[in-house]
């Protein structure tokens, strides 16, 4: 008997008792929708957290904190380490920066601001994706590049200190710097405590380039990149490595600082897949590193366990629905006993009879799963709209825009439909076997 004909039989049989079949499908659909909605909370929260992490950090970026020398003690990264990093397969760039250990005051005309200041190795920075929105890279010792948002931090020196910023924390329009920066001279004032008195030194620099606007909407780049020789000039004035300001009290010891070491080292992998391999190599060589990918792995493991638990609880609802399917199929077999008897008498193979009933139970399961999936999607959309609204109204707390309570990826739909089908086929198995084993004569005499 062809599959098409078996399917036709199933549909004809189902039409005979529409209400009972509808109720069974409904029970299955509710079970399936419950499973999907329950698990979708796990999927949704995981998606939100991972999305949030990815938005905050570049996925191919690996931060290097140092190299473990003895247990618990780490040394700073030096050039030989950088050379090693560059030799690892799939490493695109290794950026290394030295940070000025004080925030100097920058003054351009009547405007000033403070900014984090670094010495950067530009070829590696460019390879890692640093781009300029205006100007060029520095060529001379006194030339500098400033971050895209540096200009926004400049404010007029005439502004009263308590009235510089508006309610949102931005510099008021009237105190803002509204001129070009490229080509302009800017004074950098560094300070040091000398014999208890604060002394300062001003170095005149020239802005030659501005970095590109950060791709992330919320990111602000106010960094200033100076040359190595300017750093040395600062160190000569302060008498401390990286221009560190001496503590006012001699009892306080200054932290050790290797003048050749880097403060911020980042490795950029060629692609996301390569990150794991690079981290493994770094681990083997005792480098302390951090990557968003490692964190994501841990988060994914926790969520996989949570999602499995939710799917398991959801499956219980489906198992309850399967009792309905078992009941429906048992009644169907009993009601159709004479027909089964006749079919077997004229030569229907018991396997065909079994297949027809299994097909019927799986068809009920499939329809239930499809309806359940649609309902689950609708509930998921409603939950995502309603819950933030309810929380905001009830608790007055504004939730992050990226937070998604419920998400239904295709994999969840496939898992739910798969579980639904397995459960319904299993619940139809016993009635189908009963039909197969049915005594032909008793069935034809309507004794079953």
């Amino acid at each position: 008997m062809k599959f098409k004909d078996q399917f036709r039989f199933v549909r004809q049989n189902m039409k005979k008792n529409k209400v009972r079949v509808f109720m069974t499908v409904l029970a299955t659909a509710i079970g399936c929708a419950f499973l999907i909605v329950l698990a979708s909370v796990g999927f949704g929260l995981q998606q939100s957290i991972v999305k949030d992490m990815l938005e905050q950090r570049a996925v191919t970026q690996i931060d290097i904190y140092g190299k473990e020398e003895d247990k618990g003690s780490f040394s700073q990264i030096k050039n030989e380490d950088v050379d090693y990093f560059e030799s690892i397969d799939n490493v695109k760039a290794v950026t290394r920066r030295q940070r000025l250990n004080q925030e100097p005051v920058y003054k351009i005309g009547d405007y000033n601001t403070g900014a984090s200041t670094y010495v950067a190795y530009f070829p590696a920075e460019m390879k890692a994706g640093l781009e300029l929105s205006a100007g060029r890279l520095p060529e001379k010792a006194n030339e500098i590049v400033v971050g895209y948002n540096f200009v926004e931090s400049l404010y007029s020196t005439t502004a009263p200190p308590n009235d510089i910023r508006d309610e949102s924390g931005n510099i008021k329009e009237e105190y803002k710097y509204n001129d070009d920066l490229v080509g302009k001279n800017i004074d950098m004032k560094v300070t040091q405590l000398k014999e208890g008195k604060e002394e300062s030194s001003t170095i005149t620099l020239q802005i030659v380039g501005i970095t590109k606007k950060p791709t992330r909407e919320w990111a602000r780049d106010q960094t200033v990149f100076i040359s190595e020789s300017v750093m040395k000039e600062i160190e000569a004035f302060t008498g401390t490595p990286r221009g560190m300001v001496k503590p006012p009290n001699d009892d306080i010891q200054m932290p050790e600082q290797d003048p050749n070491a880097y403060d911020e080292v980042k490795i950029y992998a060629n692609n996301l897949e390569a990150v794991d391999g690079i981290i493994n190599q770094l681990d083997l060589n005792d480098y302390a590193s951090y990557s968003v990918v490692s964190e994501m792995k841990q988060i994914n493991t926790v969520f996989t366990i949570a999602k499995s638990g939710l799917i398991f609880i959801g499956t219980i609802a489906l198992l309850i629905a399967s009792i309905g399917i078992y009941n429906t199929m048992t009644m169907a077999v009993t009601e159709r006993a004479p027909d089964i008897g006749i079919m077997k008498a004229i030569g229907a193979n018991p396997r065909v009879i079994k297949r027809i009933f299994l097909l019927e139970s799986s068809y009920i399961g499939l329809i239930g799963a499809l309806i359940g999936t649609v309902v689950a999607y609708l509930i998921s959309i409603a939950v995502n709209i309603a819950i933030p609204f309810i929380i905001e109204s009830a608790f007055g707390e504004e939730l992050p825009e990226t937070l998604q309570f419920s998400a239904i990826p295709l994999s969840l739909v496939l898992i739910a439909v798969g579980i639904c089908l397995v459960v319904t086929i299993l619940s139809g198995l016993r009635p189908a076997r009963k039909a197969t084993k049915m005594d032909v004569l008793k069935a034809m005499r309507r004794e079953i």
């Binding site: 062809k2 004909d5 006749i342 079919m343 008498a345 004229i346 030569g347 229907a348 004569l441």
Partner: protein, 229 residues
Amino acid sequence: MINVKNLSHDFVMGKRGQQSTLPVLRNISFEVNKGEIVALAGRSGSGKSTLLNLISGFIRTTQGEIWVNDTKVTDLTESEFADFRLQHIGFIFQNFQLIPSMTAYQNVELPLILNGESASVRKKRTEETLQKVGLLEYRDHYPSELSGGQQQRTSIARSLILNPPLILADEPTGSLDSETEQELLQFILQLNKELGITFLIITHDDEVARIGNRTVHIADGSLTQGGTI
């Protein structure tokens, strides 16, 4: 066509642990040749229906052998017997055994569906067969909308549709009036003559038994006449 050798059968009665056996057939042997119409006659409870059910494979026995169309059917599994029935044996039942939710056309078509025939072959053969039994115009009628004679003809059409060499008929006229009974008997003779189909007919009616080439009599589970004792 049918060869029954030393066939015995007991019914097991009672609950488990308190069972007793009731002998129904005792050491029966007989043959039905190809193209014959053989009537199996006997009174109620003589064991004739049990014998037919054993030949059909509806009940199984372990004592004796049954050969149908050169196949030892007593050795077949349930699944193999089902396939064998579909290909080699047609059935006519006393109470027609039509599926009530199917039309005459669908009932007749059923063996073709079970045999996996294509839709076009099914349509052609079903219409031809309905034409042969004179029911083409009733094709869309449900069994409840047909007379007893029409239902029995539908049943005959269903038994003929796969051209089986053997038809087993269990009291085929039991539910029919005398006029329809005569029509049906003539039709069986016609099928036997034109298509060479072998018939084994169970009856307690002498009128029916008379159309057979010979009659095998059964009483108290043993053959009394027409077989090999």
